[in-house]
């Protein structure tokens, strides 16, 4: 009994009694399993239910919608097969929208990556007002996209806007229809606003990544006589690799789903110069009541995003996950 008393201290009482007493061993075990199951259900159930209601169900209903001609109300009974898909894929406006999305993807990486990296390396140094500068660069990211859109829409007003005033003050002439009203310039104008908004995120991630670079490496390089520039190029940037690749992934997905800012700034116009896949499906769905076509467009958007994400995970991010192991 004393021996048993000694072991009791080390092991949980219920488990011990269950193992020792054959009569009671049968009864509590299933009860325990049942309780565990209930716990799992209670903790995971709400999350799964929310996912089913707000993610799975909308996806399924969008796929279903895409095979019908449906005005958005009343019974959904006019089955049209793949007609909506051929309509969407044959539509110049939709193909233009896909082109705009990919242009933003490429531009984001080409412009925001060097810019974000440069700012991060700069702000990683012990310079004056570092905190203030970091805050200034990061503030646009905290703003809601809609608010940023409204602010820039006012700044970019042709004639009366601040941007036109600044352009005029340095002796240049702003385009007559404004930066948002000239079809050839609009997408680039939107991209400038996007960069202003999202470069803060890149800087934040890169700065965090730079904290992970061991100080000894810098020290060793310095002792070997490497310049500041050389240490950045040979040590900081290569070791930032995983962070950069993760940022590029986030940036890509964001660019593919681009909507809020474009919607507020241009609504997809002028002359469809800034349509994205998301504005296309809003225009077809909510504005024109062609929910079948909008459904087909959303499935196409989903497939494009999924393929890109999977390819990127397989081809680019794999080395990072391997390294982690």
């Amino acid at each position: 009994m004393t021996q048993q008393g000694g072991t009791l201290v080390a092991t949980p009482p219920e488990e011990t009694t269950a193992r020792r007493d054959p009569r009671r061993a049968v009864a509590p075990r299933p009860r325990l399993a049942w309780r565990e199951r209930l716990e799992v259900l209670v903790f995971v159930g709400p999350a799964i239910a929310l996912m089913a209601v707000f993610i799975l169900w909308p996806v399924v209903s969008a796929v279903r919608m895409s095979f019908y001609r449906w005005k958005g109300f009343g019974p959904m009974d006019d089955f049209v097969g793949w007609a909506n898909y051929s309509l969407v894929l044959g539509d110049d406006v939709f193909r233009g929208a896909v082109g705009h999305n990919f242009l933003i993807v490429v531009l984001s990486i080409l412009v925001q990556l060097p810019l974000g990296l440069g700012l991060a390396l700069l702000l990683n140094r012990n310079i004056r007002f570092r905190g203030v500068l970091r805050t200034i660069i990061f503030v646009p990211y905290v703003l809601a996209e809609v608010i940023a859109g409204v602010i820039w829409f006012q700044l970019l007003q042709p004639g009366y806007g601040v941007v036109d005033g600044l352009v005029g003050a340095v002796g240049l002439t702003a385009p007559e229809q404004g930066f948002l009203g000239t079809p050839d310039l609009t997408l680039y104008t939107v991209f400038v606003v996007l960069t202003w908004k999202y470069v803060g995120l890149a800087v934040l991630l890169f700065l965090a990544g730079l904290q992970g670079v061991p100080a000894e490496l810098y020290e060793a390089a310095q002792i070997d006589g490497a310049s500041w520039w050389q240490t950045q190029r040979r040590i900081a940037v290569p070791l930032l690799g995983p962070t950069i690749r993760t940022w590029a992934f986030l940036s890509m997905i964001g660019s593919i789903q681009l909507f809020d800012l474009v919607w507020v700034l241009t609504g997809g116009g002028p002359a469809n110069a800034t349509t994205t896949m998301a504005t296309y499906l809003i225009n077809q769905g909510t504005a024109r009541g062609n929910y079948g076509i909008a459904g087909a467009a959303s499935v196409v958007l989903f497939v494009i995003a999924l393929v890109m994400a999977v390819l990127y995970q397989r081809l680019v991010l794999r080395r990072d996950t391997h390294e982690a192991r």
Binding site: V42, G72, F73, G267, A271, N272, R288, G289
Partner: protein, 428 residues
């Protein structure tokens, strides 16, 4: 049962309760209540907003136990909220219908209540103006304001540019545009960013180019093969080529904010804008003093197109009607009848909220510009319902998008007709 299971059970119960609350918390439960009437309207500026609140209070006083929940929204907000409401089937008890193809779709989906019997007296009193809200001999909504689209202009700026009288033909219109430009005044604002304000120009050039029977045929058969539709686009190309519009018009919104097309007119930035009868009300909401252009407001109908096959006095217009949801309590019909009564329509007119359809209220329109518009409306041989409304959202949306492209020089008159026909063919 052990304590922990009871706690777990309680927790799961809470989770379920939370979830259902989250899923069903869109206010639908209020609308289902038989003693509550939900009413959506777009008179979201004073005095209209307060006037309707008073009407609702008076109705509640006469009908004990009935609670009227009024929601005043900006027009664009209301339209998008209504779209969502139709989709969910949870339509407000009293809401605004614009008639035409849209109403026909709602009727087909069984969302709108037939008012033919319940409001027979009111329908008779309104006369011909209910036609746009009828389908197969039944009336589904009662129009409370029917107006026509025309040019709203700033009398002071016209005077400043030395313009004696508003233009009556397109040639005179171009002269006026030239005079305004010479005086350094931006002639016209258009909210082409929202597309429909640009489309109204095409609607009017079509109305001036096409005879009435061709237009009526097009609305019922969705056939746009008559060459006059291409002519309409050609006339519009000339208008765009004259460059009368405000800088940046391709992304200018219609009514939101001081930099919208209406805002530019209200703040003396441009001399005129093509818009419907709602314009004075919209401008009032966009100026700090709440007066809009005030005394300076003038109105003239869309000019005659020389050599066009259409009637030069026909007007493009449309209006708003109160419709009752199929699921609404019977008292909602009583409230709609009250809204069309001599008293309420007179008050509606006195507050410059629109153009009353009840003949008893016609004399109460005090605003001189609106009175002018009312005169043109009543003298017009026929009023063509806005094409996008008449054709329904799908065809109308395709048409408006293509017309906006014509404004930026990216579509030809033929392409406008083709895009419209293509969308129409998918409807058949």
């Amino acid at each position: 049962m052990s304590r922990s299971t009871r706690v777990a059970g309680l927790a799961s119960l809470c989770a379920v309760a939370l979830m259902t609350a989250a899923c069903g918390g869109d206010g639908s439960s209020e609308a289902d209540d038989a003693s509550t009437i939900t009413w959506w309207h777009n008179s979201n500026n004073e005095p209209g907003k307060g006037y309707y609140e008073q009407v609702a209070k008076d109705f509640e006083a006469d009908h004990p136990g009935i609670d009227v929940q009024v929601s005043a929204m900006a027009h664009e907000d209301m339209v998008s909220k209504l779209d969502a409401a139709f989709q969910s089937g949870d339509v407000p008890d009293i809401y605004m219908e614009r008639g035409g193809g849209e109403l026909a779709d709602h009727v087909e989906a069984g969302l709108v209540r037939d008012l033919s019997e319940d409001a027979a007296d009111e329908i008779e009193n309104l006369g011909g103006s209910v036609a746009g809200w009828q389908s197969e001999g039944k009336t589904y909504a009662l129009p409370f304001s029917v107006g026509v689209v025309g040019f709203w202009y700033n009398k002071d700026l016209f005077e400043e540019a030395g313009i004696d009288a508003p233009p009556t033909t397109m040639d005179e219109f171009y002269d006026v545009v030239g005079q305004l430009k010479d005086a350094g005044i931006a002639p016209v604002s258009v909210g082409a960013g929202d597309k429909w304000p640009a489309a109204h120009y095409w609607y009017y050039t079509a109305l001036r180019s096409c005879p009435q029977d061709v237009l009526e045929g097009a609305v019922t058969s969705l056939d746009f093969s008559d060459p006059c539709f291409v002519e309409a686009g050609e006339v519009l190309e000339d208008v765009v080529a004259a460059e009368p519009f405000n800088p940046g018009f391709l992304t200018t919104p219609a009514q939101e904010g001081a930099t919208s097309a209406s805002g530019l007119l209200a703040t003396d930035k441009v001399a005129m804008e093509l818009a419907g009868h709602w314009e004075p009300g919209v401008m009032q909401g966009l100026t700090d003093d709440g007066k809009g252009l005030g005394e300076k407001t003038g109105w003239f109908p869309f000019p005659e197109v020389e050599g066009g096959g259409g009637d030069p006095t026909a007007q493009l217009g449309g209006g708003d009607a109160w419709a009752v949801a199929e699921s609404a309590p019977d008292e909602a019909v009583d409230l709609v009848k009250l809204l069309l009564s001599d008293d309420v329509q007179t008050g509606f007119a006195e507050n410059d909220m629109g153009l009353p359809t009840n003949p008893a209220a016609g004399g109460a329109v005090s605003d001189p510009a609106l009175a002018e518009l009312l005169k043109v409306r009543d003298e017009s041989p026929y009023i063509q319902l806005y094409f996008d409304t008449a054709f329904g959202t799908s065809v109308g949306g395709a048409m408006n998008d293509e017309i906006a492209l014509l404004f930026s020089g990216d579509a030809t008159p033929q392409e406008v007709v083709d895009a419209t026909q293509q969308a129409a063919d998918q409807e058949m």
